[in-house]
């Protein structure tokens, strides 16, 4: 850390029910950052059950319009707030500025009106149950009623905050966003954009975004109660989820975006031609490297069908491809930590049982083995596991396996039932792990918007 960072305390504003609150009453040191925030007023962070929710009488069309306008506001960033969030993130983020710029440049697309409508259609079958009571074909009515939700955000990608706000607004609930210490400004900036385009609008009044230290029982113990909130959405680390879980009880539910890993499955077809090998290795490298392999969608283990000689050819080509700079990947990343380097060196000493391609120069490294290594590969390190057939890889799939990239894509159909049974949640053609696909698909095995609702029935 630079000395200037130590000396300079960053002002982190809060947003409470759409209003910006500034102040320096509380000082924090967290996530390698020194910053100050206004004093938390816990009473103002709850929406009492005595009053109707701000969005109770607003229809989805209007919410989509407000969000879309906020998206344009973020795209243009005339007030420079998003740039300020980016600047701050650059100070603590492990990523180079170019990657963060690319990431922020795409942020507004989350607010695309067509995507949001597709999300509502895909997850809830349309806006009807959000906007009113829907007749059940066999009698009675059903409504998707909004919830009061605390969101414990993750800070590794700004899209987490954007998606949380979009889903939150579309659900018509009220939302308390807990800022992560590794991204202190993005969520507030998004909520401020809503206030900027629609001051005092119910969408704006439905959001607060504040910081407290994660795990602070004085705050979480007071807020995480069914009297105030219905659900807690937790993103990220095992510890954060475990901490959140202790507040779960009757009337207070946990929606967890668990920590996940992703893998690739590459069939013997890859060795049918040099062109196939080259294109599959490029696609495999694209899947392995988003956010320098820190993202949950980044492939860490790649199971390849073939002989040792064939798989080694794939590894060599993959190591070359890993070196490339990509929109969300640096050409050179920090080398793996010392304990992982030691472990890889030890494996290299066991050749031919294991073989290592590449160096600890941050350009990318591939370890070929007959079974997965025991550490979690990161920082452009891929473990290529040789398998006699792709079905053998199923033994290494479990509920923490999120995305599975398959080559050739035609083999997905034969694998998908077994992958689902083993615990995996998402199949993509190899190379498409970071491709969002259409809006309204499930995430981590469930429909988030659907889970955010309370489903109420009215029987005849």
């Amino acid at each position: 850390m630079r000395m200037s960072d130590l000396l300079e305390s960053v002002a982190v504003p809060h947003v409470v029910k759409g209003d910006v609150v500034e102040g320096a009453a509380d000082h924090h040191d967290a996530g390698g950052m020194s910053f100050h925030t206004p004093r938390l007023d816990l009473d103002r962070l709850v929406w009492t059950r005595a009053e109707p929710l701000p969005l109770a009488d607003t229809n989805v069309d209007e919410i989509v319009q407000v969000l879309a306008a906020a998206g344009e506001h973020l795209r243009d960033d005339a007030d420079g707030l998003l740039r300020a969030a980016l600047d701050l993130l650059c100070r603590t983020s492990p990523y180079e500025r170019r990657i963060l710029e690319n990431s922020y440049a795409e942020l507004w697309r989350v607010f695309d009106a067509d995507r949001m409508r597709a999300m509502v259609a895909g997850e809830l079958g349309g806006a009807a149950a959000l906007d009113g009571w829907v007749r059940h074909p066999d009698g009675g009515s059903v409504r998707a009623y909004p919830s009061r939700i605390i969101h414990v955000l993750a800070g590794n990608a700004p899209s987490v905050a954007a998606l949380s706000v979009v889903r939150g607004a579309l659900s018509k609930g009220v939302h308390l966003l807990k800022l992560p210490s590794n991204d202190l400004l993005t969520a507030t900036t998004i909520v401020r954009a809503i206030s900027a385009v629609a001051p005092g609008h119910p969408v704006a009044r439905s959001f607060s975004a504040v910081y407290w230290r994660g795990g602070d029982d004085a705050v979480e113990g007071a807020l995480c109660r069914p009297q105030y909130f219905d659900k807690l959405i937790a993103w990220g680390g095992e510890r954060a989820i475990a901490n959140a879980a202790k507040y779960v009880g009757p009337g207070f539910e946990l929606i967890s975006f668990d920590p996940k890993n992703s893998i690739s499955m590459i069939g013997e077809e890859v060795f049918e031609s040099d062109a196939a090998l080259r294109s599959a290795a490029a696609a495999a490298a694209i899947d392995a490297t988003p956010y320098n392999q820190e993202a949950c969608i980044a492939s860490r283990f790649q199971f390849v069908e073939g002989t040792v000689e064939q798989v080694d050819r794939f590894c060599a080509q993959l190591a070359l491809e890993l070196a490339a700079e990509r929109p969300l990947t640096s050409a050179i990343v920090d080398p793996p930590p010392r304990d992982v380097r030691d472990e890889i060196d030890a494996l290299a000493g066991l050749e031919p049982m294991y073989r290592v391609f590449g160096q600890f120069d941050g350009r990318g490294l591939v370890i070929r083995s007959d079974e997965p290594v025991e550490f979690s590969p990161s920082g452009k390190v891929v473990n290529v596991v040789r398998v006699p057939s792709l079905t053998a890889a199923l033994a290494h799939v479990n509920v923490s396996t999120q995305t599975v990239g398959v080559f050739p894509a035609a083999r997905k159909a034969a694998l998908r039932d077994a992958l689902a049974a083993a615990g995996a949640q998402r199949l993509v053609p190899l190379g498409m792990a970071a491709g969002g696909g259409p809006a309204g698909l499930p995430h981590d095995g469930f429909y988030p918007l659907h889970r955010m609702m309370r489903w109420i029935s009215d029987q005849d």
Binding site: A30, G31, G32, V152, L153, A154, G155, N156, V160, P180, S181, N182, R213, G214, G215, W235, G236, G237, E238, R239, A240, I241, A242, F257, D258, P259, K260, N261, Q293, E294, A295, C296, A298, P337, R338, D339, R341, D342, E343, D345, A346, L347, A348, G349, L350, M353, Y354, F360, S369, E371, V373, E374, S376, S378, A395, H396, N398, V399, S400, A422
Partner: protein
């Protein structure tokens, strides 16, 4: 042994008449480190790889050492499948990548489990020191005969009239403390009054835990297997309880005469508890008693002031409180000022948390960070190691008058991170919540 190393190790031997000033010590330690690098990079493959990658061909400055240090985890860098599948030949090949040994030359045909593998290597002159973490994966530190001889030359106490000696743990174990205990018992243990837990430590039990965890992660473990395993662990614990109590009673029986007691804090606390159950109060031990304290609590729950209570329980005896790590040949002994003294022959290093960058001491001579060291005493392994501990190291000397660096406020990084950090990301490692926590 080369002249520089020999001179350094002899001159820093406790009770040595030679006195080296700080500058000369530092110079000799670096010279010894360079000598070792030149010799050992020919025989330790991982060291050679590391030196080539770092472009370090000679050690002329402490900074040259930093890229050559091994993480303490290097001694468990083997693929766990070698152990779980009983590939002892492969485990021996791995051992040779992190040491100067030729373990692979030792015939391990017919070896049935990890304990037999360690025993077979011992017969072949490779002394594997093992330790296990909560994960069940063991680390294997391979020492050779010269290393064992060095350790025996630096025992905590050597010159003493025959007396009872006890180790509050298993004396048959692939652990440094067990070897040291046996050496001391041979030197001055009174026949018939040498006590320890007799049942040998079986690493195979640890391996069973690891195997079960893997089976759980793979989804192949059946609930009944998990239940049976836990019942078995409970049964073993109960069985051992009787042996532990018998051992502690033996120690208490000798408290009216001078005796020597070695043990970890957790076991000293157990001794206190048993004594209280027997109605034995504080301060009943003979003043000629020597008590060595080391290691952790090992899961024994104690009050915050356990140390003061234990000291009061023993009363006015000779105490030696040590901090050490298995990767270093000497232990850090606490002086009356409450700080641990760095063994003189070992290069003290303090790194940043990542273990990559050497930190300089502040104006007051102190610096806090990750403890690392270079130990020229080792012959069978490379002496450069980065520990898992955070501590404050004081290069400014101690009021007690002993020269050299001191260490205080030691905490394990793995305990620190448990304190929680709200720096969240969505990418995760498959960990306890899926693997399940078994047998911890």
């Amino acid at each position: 042994m080369t002249d520089v190393r020999h001179h350094l190790l002899e001159a820093t031997k406790p009770g040595s008449a030679a006195s080296l000033d700080a500058e000369e010590l530092a110079r000799l330690r670096l010279l010894a480190a360079d000598e070792r690098l030149q010799e050992q990079r020919r025989t330790i493959p991982v060291l050679d790889t590391r030196a080539s990658e770092a472009g370090v061909s000679a050690i002329t400055d402490v900074h040259d050492l930093v890229p050559l240090l091994f993480a303490h985890s290097v001694y468990k860098s083997y693929p766990e499948s070698f152990v779980l599948n009983g590939r002892w030949d492969r485990l021996s090949v791995w051992l040779d990548t992190v040491s100067t040994h030729t373990a692979a030359a030792v015939d391990v045909a017919g070896v049935g489990d990890v304990d037999a593998w360690i025993e077979q290597l011992r017969r072949g002159g490779v002394f594997v020191m093992a330790s296990s973490g909560t994960s069940g994966k063991c680390s294997f530190l391979p020492l050779n005969g010269a290393d064992m001889a060095f350790l025996e030359s630096r025992l905590a106490i050597t010159d003493r009239a025959a007396c009872p000696i006890s180790f509050l743990g298993p004396s048959e174990a692939p652990m440094r403390v067990a070897y040291s205990f046996k050496a001391m018992a041979r030197a001055f243990g009174r026949p018939g009054a040498v006590h320890a837990l007799e049942e040998p430590l079986r690493l195979s039990e640890q391996i069973e835990i690891a195997a079960l965890r893997k089976a759980m992660a793979d989804g192949t473990a059946r609930p009944s297997e998990v239940a049976r395993f836990e019942a078995e662990a409970t049964r073993r614990t109960a069985e051992r309880e009787a042996a532990v109590t018998a051992l502690l009673d033996a120690v208490l029986c000798h408290r009216g005469e001078p005796q020597v007691i070695f043990g970890g804090w957790g076991m000293h606390w157990r001794l206190l508890e048993v004594a209280r159950e027997r109605g034995i109060g504080d301060g009943t031990f003979h003043p000629g008693t020597f008590v060595n304290f080391a290691g952790g609590l090992k899961g024994v729950s104690v009050p915050d002031d356990y140390e003061a209570q234990i000291f009061a329980f023993y009363g006015a005896v000779q105490r030696r409180v040590g901090y050490g790590m298995s990767e270093l040949s000497g232990s850090f002994v606490r002086c009356p000022h409450g700080v641990y003294h760095w063994p003189q022959w070992i290069v003290p290093l303090v790194l940043d948390e990542a273990g990559e960058t050497l930190l300089d001491a502040g104006a007051d001579g102190r610096v806090r960070g990750r403890v690392a060291a270079y130990d020229p005493a080792w012959d069978g392994i490379w002496g450069g190691v980065v520990s898992g501990d955070q501590a404050t190291v004081d290069f400014g000397g101690c009021a007690c008058g002993q020269p050299g660096a001191t260490v205080t406020d030691i905490v394990r990084y793995c305990d620190l991170s448990a304190a929680g950090d709200d720096k969240l990301t969505c990418g995760g490692t498959i960990d306890a919540y899926i693997r399940g926590v078994v047998g911890t």
